[in-house]
């Protein structure tokens, strides 16, 4: 499906939903058999959040990011984080303009709607925190001058869980800035066979036209934000959060900001499912992705398992 000629601001919510569901279908064709993950990633974007992709090399982290960027019709830049990367390398810097005799701000790669921060844990903490600050404030301050970032602004960071040497793991306070943490995992064997024998997904991606544009995405994000949430659902969220706070292994439990993130992600998920408001099904769908990295002191994998068990025993009706 291609972008429709009507201006995004005048489209109805139903149209927007149809549009983004079409985008999901397209992404499904490229990113084989990982519809759940793609849905969550798109939900994260619709909730105006940033994503942290964590999985082993070759599982398609970069492909996922580029697919999303391409189909959303957003400008896409990729920064490979290394141990010698400096903040200025991402943000941009004041450069002396010999012609005019003045300093001129040269924007870094961060000035893009869609930024892929590859292997973010390889950069030194200084660079990491600079990026994370930008992610939160959506503006860059260099030498006292503030430069606003374009809207929408999505950062997709990747991490390689296997690598331990020469990495700087992100502290919990920084992890909090990512709305969702996603693991890609492996596709179905059948779909994987298609992948092995079929067309290179990158080429297929290049052939596919974008489904939306930045304006449409902003409108959809506004529609998601405007979604009302029922008391019944908030009760369910409260029950979940209370249980994370009461479980000793998950102490100190989810923060109020995490709760807000959970509801925001659930909203976006509901939007993608064509619902008028989030249901417990949406909360359940996004819960582990929202909560695991915020609680994962003892190791994200075991935390995710524990959160899944918690979902199963918390009354969802």
């Amino acid at each position: 499906m291609s972008a429709e000629p009507t201006p995004a601001s005048r489209r109805s919510t139903a149209d927007l939903v149809r549009l983004f569901r079409g985008l999901l279908d397209e992404a499904d064709g490229i990113f084989y058999g990982q519809r759940t993950v793609v849905t969550l990633a798109l939900a994260g974007v619709l909730a105006d959040g940033h994503l942290l992709l964590e999985d082993h090399p070759g599982t398609g982290k970069t492909l996922l990011a580029s697919t999303l960027a391409h189909l959303l019709g957003l400008g896409f830049r990729r920064v490979q984080f290394t141990s010698d990367l400096l903040p200025a390398d991402i943000m941009g810097s004041q450069v002396y303009d010999s012609a005019g005799g003045t300093f001129r701000f040269v924007p870094g790669p961060v000035f893009t709607p869609f930024l892929l921060a590859d292997e973010i844990n390889r950069a030194p903490p200084r660079t990491q925190s600079a990026l994370l600050e930008v992610m939160d404030e959506r503006q860059v301050s260099v030498d006292g001058v503030t430069h606003p970032l374009p809207r929408p602004f999505v950062v997709v960071a990747t991490q390689n869980p296997g690598d331990q040497t020469g990495t700087y793991p992100l502290p919990e306070s920084q992890l909090d800035r990512f709305l969702l943490r996603l693991e890609l995992g492996y596709p179905d064997v059948e779909r994987e066979k298609d992948l092995w024998g079929g067309e290179d997904p990158r080429e297929r991606l290049l052939r596919t036209p974008p489904c939306t544009d930045a304006e449409t995405l902003t409108a959809a994000q506004a529609a998601v934000r405007a979604m009302t949430v029922s008391d019944a659902l908030l009760d369910y969220v409260a029950r979940l959060i209370a249980r994370t706070r009461n479980a000793p292994s998950l102490a100190p439990g989810l923060s109020p900001r995490a709760g807000r993130a959970l509801v925001a992600a659930a909203r976006a998920h509901a939007f993608l499912n064509g619902r008028g408001a989030p249901w417990p099904d949406d909360v359940k769908a996004v819960f582990v992705a929202v909560a695991a990295h915020r609680l994962g002191r003892a190791g994200v994998a075991s935390t995710a398992a524990e959160l899944t068990a918690l979902l199963e025993t918390t009354t969802a009706r």
């Binding site: 759940t36 009302t228 949430v229 659902l233 996004v286 199963e312």
Partner: protein, 706 residues
């Protein structure tokens, strides 16, 4: 809102049968001993006023014995054999009938009810028996009010009722298991809801009391025969007044207009007897002939004006002090100077009289009349007759003879007692005068009359009320059953003169012990038997409250009501003016309550729909296990069912979607709610038709998760 059954609710998880729990198995449970004892204790408390007030020497102890046996045995063990229970019931009926001559009526009914209490407790074993016990308690509490409406009695009934209500509400008889610990646990936990319930009920009860048209006298005294106060009998048997005289029931009140005669002068005549058959007296027809009132001019005597309120006893005899100068409306005067109502009294009767006290002039006593007033059954009481004739010879003047007889009663060891040895046979008077010498007013009046008649002095016996107790707060003299009395009238010097032989007995020979216990210190047969004066002085304040209660609550009759309503600005003129009040108290409060209930229902409807949903889930879980897990959402559950049962799963998915929209999407309208309910109903109906058998292939359980 969703009620949360808890993280691991066993109800949902265990796949319980989706059938609604029935009442029957619950009620068939054996009764817990503590619960039994508490309920039994409250029942006994409720029965106590009836037992005390309606004490019958052998029925009441029998009931008490049954209760005692039941309490000791407790709710365990075998029920007493049916034959025994039937025999006991028959005995209770027979005893009541023998004692009262009927099994109808308030007092007979009260006795029967007491036996019923004992019998019921004896066979109480299960929860459902408790319902009968509770019902009986309420019935007895209402019955208590028939026996006494004094403030203390009402306070007692109210206290027991609150205790009962608290126990009932706390016991879980209404719903759920018993709550609370300890012997009074259930009562304690139920006290607050019980008081809340009363707080809702009281204002309405008060409005009904104030605004519903009142009738004269108590409602149960209105047109029903068995509720009347027992009064004097139109026949006088030896030993006959005894049972009446221990009653403290008020029979009449008298308000004297000016001067109140002293206690020992307040002889209210009710019946005059002139025919003696050896064992008892009855009036001859002559005494009952109508007669004109006393001509006012030229009549001698002290004038007395008073107003009488007589409690109904189903008879027409009225009480009168002195010789009436006027005849009140609805009454007539007999030749013997007694007053009769034109109709038997079925409600309180009021009448005002002006009368003359003093001897009753009867200058001309015809030979026939004289003969009748001297008549004695032939051949009986020979010894008494010989004695009388001997006295006559020594005291020719009638007044001297009277003195002689009275001196005889005073000097010889005659005792006054309410429990005399029985007198019977043809020579009862001889037996009394020379053998037993124990009796009360009837016996003394009879003996006196026989002696005087034997001596040739016309004498008749009069029964009525003497004395009474002055109630300073109301300004009335109150007569109760204990004031019933019998005395004589002797024809001396052209007038009937009153002689009270009972008063001649030496005070020291009055047996009071049992009497004062029973009467609590009132006058009996003209004697003041009050032993402890302090009783009457204690609690002046309390008595004043009691007086207000008597006057403004118990005495809230048609007149007071009209006055009160007038003060509220409502003038009663004809039945139409009642209508707004009746609508106000009978129609408006139920409507308001109804509205409140509707509002509450609306508020709870969500919860009720939720209950239906839970039932559906339970039913589904039973039909297609495993049941829904706590963390499973409706959609997930529906999806799981759809895997094994596609058709049903589709319906369930529709239902789950509608439910989700209603529950989670604040913008969904009433239409969506109706649709959801309709789908829910339809699905429940469909499932109800499916028999409870396992599905052909158990659906696999999908693990919920991201």
């Amino acid at each position: 809102m969703i009620p949360e059954p808890g993280p691991a609710s066993p109800e949902v998880g265990s796949g319980a049968l989706p059938r609604r729990p029935r009442k029957a198995p619950r009620d068939g449970r054996p009764l817990e001993r503590r619960r039994f004892l508490l309920s039994a204790a409250i029942l006994v408390l409720a029965a106590l006023p009836v037992a005390v007030d309606d004490f019958v020497p052998w029925i009441t102890p029998l009931a008490g014995l049954l209760v005692l046996v039941a309490l000791v045995r407790g709710p365990r063990g075998r029920r007493p054999p049916l034959a025994l229970l039937l025999a006991l019931s028959a005995a209770a009926f027979a005893g009541t009938f023998l004692h009262y001559g009927t099994i109808n009526g308030l007092r007979a009914g009260g006795s029967l009810l007491l036996c019923l209490v004992g019998l019921k407790l004896l066979e109480t074993r299960h929860e459902r028996d408790l319902n009968t016990v509770l019902l009986l308690t309420v019935f007895l509490l209402a019955t208590d009010l028939f026996f006494g409406q004094q403030l203390t009695a009402v306070a007692y009934v109210a206290a027991v009722f609150i205790l009962f209500l608290a126990t009932w509400m706390g016991s879980g008889t209404t719903s759920g298991p018993p709550r609370g610990e300890g012997p009074l646990g259930s009562a304690r936990s139920g006290l607050r809801p019980a008081l809340g319930l009363l707080a809702w009920a009281l204002p309405w009860a008060l409005a009904l009391f104030v605004f519903i048209p009142r009738v004269h006298g108590p409602l149960w005294g209105w047109g029903r025969r068995h509720a009347w106060v027992s009064g004097l009998s139109p026949n006088l048997r030896l030993g006959g007044i005894g049972r009446l005289t221990v009653s403290r029931r008020t029979v009449m009140t008298v308000r004297f207009a000016h001067l109140r005669p002293p206690t020992d002068q307040r002889y209210f005549r009710v019946y005059v007897f002139d025919r003696f058959d050896g064992e008892g007296w009855r009036p001859s027809r002559r005494t009952l002939e109508p007669a004109p009132p006393v001509a006012e001019d030229g009549a001698k005597g002290m004038r007395v004006a008073y107003r009488v309120v007589l409690r109904p006893d189903g008879r027409s005899a009225l009480a009168v002090l002195g010789r009436p100068l006027t005849v009140p409306e609805g009454a007539w005067l007999t030749r013997a100077g007694t007053l009769r109502a034109r109709r038997p009294l079925r409600r309180s009767f009021h009448y005002s009289l002006v009368a003359l006290r003093g001897p009753r002039p009867a200058p001309r006593l015809s030979a026939r009349a004289r003969a009748r007033d001297l008549e004695l059954p032939p051949g009986v009481d020979r010894r008494a007759r010989r004695l009388a004739q001997r006295w006559r010879r020594r005291n020719p003047r009638p007044s001297a003879l009277v003195e002689r007889v009275l001196r005889y009663f005073h000097d010889e060891p005659f005792y006054y007692t309410l429990h005399p040895p029985p007198l019977h046979g043809r020579n009862a008077v001889d037996m009394f005068l020379f053998r037993t010498r124990r009796g009360f007013c009837t016996d003394y009046a009879t003996a006196f009359a026989v002696l005087l008649r034997a001596a040739g002095v016309p004498t008749r016996v009069v029964s009525g009320y003497l004395g009474g107790r002055y109630d300073p707060l109301n300004g009335r003299v109150v007569f109760n059953g204990a004031d019933a009395h019998a005395w004589d009238e002797v024809w001396i010097r052209g007038a009937w003169r009153r002689v009270d032989p009972t008063a001649a007995i030496a005070r020291s020979r009055i047996s009071l012990r049992a009497l004062s216990l029973l009467t609590g210190g009132y006058t009996v047969g003209g004697f003041d038997v009050r032993e402890s004066r302090w009783l009457t002085h204690v609690g002046d304040f309390w008595r004043r409250i009691g007086a207000v209660w008597n006057r403004d609550v118990l005495g809230y009759g048609p007149r007071l009501q009209r006055a009160f309503l007038r003060r509220l600005g409502w003038r009663i003129q004809g039945w139409r003016s009642w209508l707004p009040l009746l609508i106000g108290v009978l129609v408006v409060p139920p409507l308001v309550l109804w509205g409140l209930v509707l509002l509450e229902n609306k508020r709870r409807r969500g919860a009720r729909g939720e209950r239906d949903w839970e039932r559906l889930l339970r039913r589904l879980g039973a039909l297609y296990p495993p049941a829904i897990a706590p963390g499973e959402t409706a959609l997930e559950f529906a999806g799981r069912i759809a895997q094994s049962h596609p058709a049903l799963g589709r319906r369930l998915l529709t239902l789950a979607r509608r439910r989700g929209r209603v529950l989670y999407e604040p913008g969904s309208g009433p239409l969506e709610l109706r649709r959801y309910r309709k789908t829910l109903r339809a699905l429940r109906a469909r499932l109800a038709r499916i028999s409870l058998s396992p599905p052909e292939a158990g659906p696999t359980r999908r693990r919920p998760g991201p």
